[in-house]
């Protein structure tokens, strides 16, 4: 087939396209048409490519944002809804700013964004890209005061920015100390072939959720013809409710980089990328310091550990707010300085990846596991887990439980066990694998976390008895409608339609017809979409209809209800004219 991606990577002398745009936005608070033209000229790419990148990513703005720019997470665990209070609107009110619009004096802009990975820290936001956790009305008031007085973010109380990684359960990976260079030394000693054999024998499967055999992926890449090869770490942890990579990137960066190096040694790569989600930009200095440390130790760049022929270096590329970039081919498009639209697969990245060269894309946790397996051997890894899911899995537990945080278990642990450990007595349901995963009711809590039973990339959201499940569905439906890349019709249009139906039911205007429509639209999206986002976008609705039908049916209208809400439509006009307010039209 003709290669549909003929464009080579833009001129990278001035760094990555996404980074250049970010820098310009930092300077001018938005990306102007002039900046777009400037970047197109610098990188020698079409103006339309730069413009399409700017419009694709949520964190790029074509209109000036405020000098203080605040993004509230809208996740069900770290979102702005605190009991009955809407913290986001509270801050908007206190600063007299309209949501989504920069205040006239340019001081402040406030908007919402998809989960920022602080789910174990309560309501959270990003201020100029930096997370503040543990929000409550009191802290909102304090933030408002500091913004009103234009106190620089650097002078705000440091404890607001503290991100504590609480590990409640440790198993294979988190219990083990990693010694820098130990995996590489072992790989050099036993050779690439034997190291690959160990990975193959360990049964390690991708920890992002899809569960592809890691050893096979490396083997395919190693055997694929190409001028060069790449190893890419997918640190675009965007599934709402997942934050385990935040811990791993912070506390286990060395093992991660070593896992990448081992992969590079096996497949024959000289260049690696960490694709870091924009929400985790605050981790960048830490990661750069870790890379610097490894360069000092001779664990990167030329002649690693004195090896005659092994050279490898790692570059970190920071995303700009797009869930879809967690899909590996969309991630590669983004690495190439393009919008994150999933490619046609096959060909898969292992043969045609970054710049069309054979490329391994692995999850953070997978690469760390690979580093440990190289040191300790496949038997060590297989000593825990199940037959088809060897090793351990790190879960990000949040929601209605007493002990949110990081839990590492051998594969095969039951959902009930996790609930018991995190102090979630009487849970009504759990969402495993995030909005794209499965909604599971109490009758199925005996199921096990594993590839052969309930698979997850790590997100484990607990919903207690008091939780309004319909509100959860609304949240998820809005999430997918917002994050659909727009490439294919069923996902682009279907996720919007699902959102309309769920909202209509939540507004008390739903009828039995809406339920039937949701099923059909959901199945269409699931079956006929282009990529994994679409295939999973309707899961929550289909699961909800199956396991918790009363969520949707409890408040249905008995008779036909027009989708169009006349009262709602007249509301603005009534408020402006202050007339007709009592008139009711039916």
């Amino acid at each position: 087939m003709a290669n549909p991606y003929p464009h080579k990577y833009p001129d990278s002398r001035s760094g990555h396209l996404l980074h250049r745009l970010y820098a310009l936005q930092e300077q001018f608070l938005h990306i102007s048409p002039e900046s777009v033209q400037q970047v197109a000229a610098e990188f020698n790419v079409p103006v339309s490519q730069v413009a399409s990148v700017v419009e694709f990513y949520s964190f790029f703005y074509t209109q000036p944002r405020g000098r203080f720019h605040i993004l509230f997470s809208n996740c069900t665990s770290c979102g702005y809804l605190l009991q009955e209070q809407n913290l986001m609107l509270m801050l908007c009110q206190q600063l007299q700013v309209t949501l989504g619009k920069t205040r006239q004096d340019g001081l402040i802009s406030i908007d919402e964004t998809s989960c920022i990975g602080m789910c174990d820290h309560g309501a959270s936001l990003l201020v100029n890209g930096v997370p503040i956790t543990g929000l409550n009305p009191d802290r909102i008031a304090q933030i408002a005061r500091r913004i009103a007085t234009e106190t620089p973010v650097a002078d705000w109380p440091t404890e607001w920015f503290a991100v504590h990684d609480t590990v409640h359960q440790r198993n294979l990976l988190l219990a083990e100390q990693f010694v820098s260079g130990s995996a590489l030394q072992r790989a050099f000693d036993q050779g690439a072939e034997s190291t690959l054999t160990a990975i193959l024998q360990s049964g390690l499967r991708g920890r992002g959720g899809a569960g592809f055999d890691t050893g096979k992926k490396w083997q395919f890449c190693r055997e694929a013809p190409g001028e060069t090869r790449y190893v890419v770490c997918n640190a675009d942890e965007g599934e709402p409710g997942t934050f385990k990579d935040r811990l791993l990137l912070h506390d286990h960066a060395d093992a991660l980089f070593e896992g990448m190096a081992v992969c590079a040694f096996i497949i024959g790569a000289e260049k690696g990328f960490v694709y870091l989600r924009g929400e985790y930009r605050y981790l960048l200095p830490h990661l750069h310091a870790a890379l610097k440390g490894r360069r000092k130790q001779g664990l990167l760049e030329q002649h690693i550990l004195g090896h005659a022929h092994f050279h490898f270096d790692i570059e970190i590329v920071v995303g700009a707010g797009a869930y879809i970039c967690g899909e590996e081919s969309a991630l590669i498009e983004s690495l190439e300085g393009k919008p994150g639209i999933p490619r046609i697969r096959p060909p898969f990245p292992v043969t045609h990846g970054y710049l069309n060269q054979p490329t391994v894309v692995n999850n953070v946790e997978t690469l760390i596991a690979a580093a440990h397996i190289t040191v300790h051997g496949s038997a060590w890894f297989k000593s825990v887990g199940t037959e088809k899911s060897s090793g351990s899995k790190i879960l990000s537990v949040s929601g209605d439980c007493q002990l949110p945080g990081i839990y590492e278990y051998p594969f095969g642990v039951t959902i009930q066990q996790v609930l018991d450990d995190c102090g979630a007595q009487n849970a009504r349901a759990v969402q495993i694998g995030g909005p794209a995963g499965r909604l599971i009711g109490a009758a199925d809590f005996h199921h096990a976390i594993s590839f052969e039973d309930v698979s997850t990339g790590g997100s484990f959201l607990v919903f207690g008895q008091q939780r309004d499940l319909l509100a959860i569905h609304c949240n998820f439906a809005h999430f997918f409608a917002h994050e659909s890349c727009g490439f294919c019709v069923p996902c682009r249009v279907g996720t919007q339609l699902l959102k309309c139906h769920v909202d209509k039911i939540a507004n008390g205007r739903g009828t039995a017809q809406d339920i039937a429509e949701m099923k059909q639209i959901g199945q269409l999206i699931e079956r006929h979409s282009h990529c994994g986002l679409g295939h999973t976008a309707a899961n929550h609705v289909l699961d909800g209809l199956q396991h918790f039908p009363q969520t949707f049916t409890a408040n249905l209208q008995q008779h036909f209800t027009a989708r169009f809400d006349l009262d709602q439509a007249l509301e603005d006009a009534r408020q402006i004219t202050q007339r007709d307010a009592a008139a009711h039209l039916d």
């Binding site: 339309s48 069923p490 079956r527």
Partner: protein, 244 residues
């Protein structure tokens, strides 16, 4: 069903393919129609409209981007798939602002013809009423994004055949829209000409050549006289290039 080394079967009919062909390529060569909007033989496939979804075993796949492989048993013209195709066509109708009765493209429009072909009698879904910009800056060509279905054909035609790269799609989700590759973003400042394939390949009324309105009376237009199936089986961008 026995299939020899270089054949696939579509709805029970055995058809040959050559290495590198997609299911769509093989089907069209054998005059088997698989409904499609975003595909145009001779241009690289995209796979965005999903009208050409077929089933191989349990799997759904877009025929235009799926390689033919020996022994594939493919279901195409089934009531379930045609129902899905109809729903997708309806989705495209409600997403944009389609004004069939007053659109110059009526009768020549593939979206409309697909609606007829699939027995679409209503839009079914709620309208999105999106605001989309019109670009009338070019002296000879009108760009009305209201009617665009984001099929990407003009993007590929301009890049692959015209060698100009006039168009791109920008924006995410339902905000996706066609943009023009010129410093101002206006079509007038691009190198677009009416003789470009990109000017005529639009399946809907999003890209119209000016001052040609109603030269062919309604009732005598392409899909007034043929089904989209008849036309779909004949189209080839290579032929088009030769004609140019």
């Amino acid at each position: 069903m026995q299939a020899s080394q270089n054949t696939i079967t579509i709805d029970g009919r055995e058809i040959p393919f050559t290495a590198g062909q997609t299911i769509m390529d093989a089907a069209l060569a054998a005059e088997v129609y698989i409904p499609h909007l975003c595909h145009y033989p001779g241009l690289p496939p995209s796979g965005n409209c999903r009208l050409c979804v077929v089933e191989i075993g349990n799997r759904s796949a877009a025929a235009c981007i799926t390689q033919a492989a020996a022994g594939q048993e493919i279901r195409n013209n089934t009531s379930e798939l045609n129902a899905a195709r109809k729903a997708l066509t309806q989705m495209l109708f409600v997403e944009g602002n389609h004004i069939c009765p007053s659109c110059e493209k009526t009768g020549n429009c593939k979206l409309q013809a697909m609606g007829y072909y699939l027995g679409m009698l209503e839009d079914h879904f709620p309208y999105f009423y999106q605001r989309r910009e019109t670009d009338a800056s070019h002296p000879d060509i009108l760009l009305d994004r209201s009617r665009c279905i984001l099929c990407d054909l003009c993007v590929r035609a301009s890049r692959e055949v015209d060698g100009k790269n006039v168009f791109a799609i920008a924006g995410r989700g339902t905000e996706a829209h066609l943009i023009v590759n010129s410093p101002t973003g206006k079509l007038a400042d691009s190198t677009m000409e009416t003789t470009d394939l990109a000017a005529t390949i639009c399946p809907v009324g999003a890209i119209l050549i000016k001052e040609q309105g109603y030269r062919v009376p309604i009732g005598q237009r392409i899909y007034d006289q043929h089904t989209i199936r008849d036309i779909g089986l004949q189209e080839h961008a290579t032929k088009k290039q030769e004609e140019k």
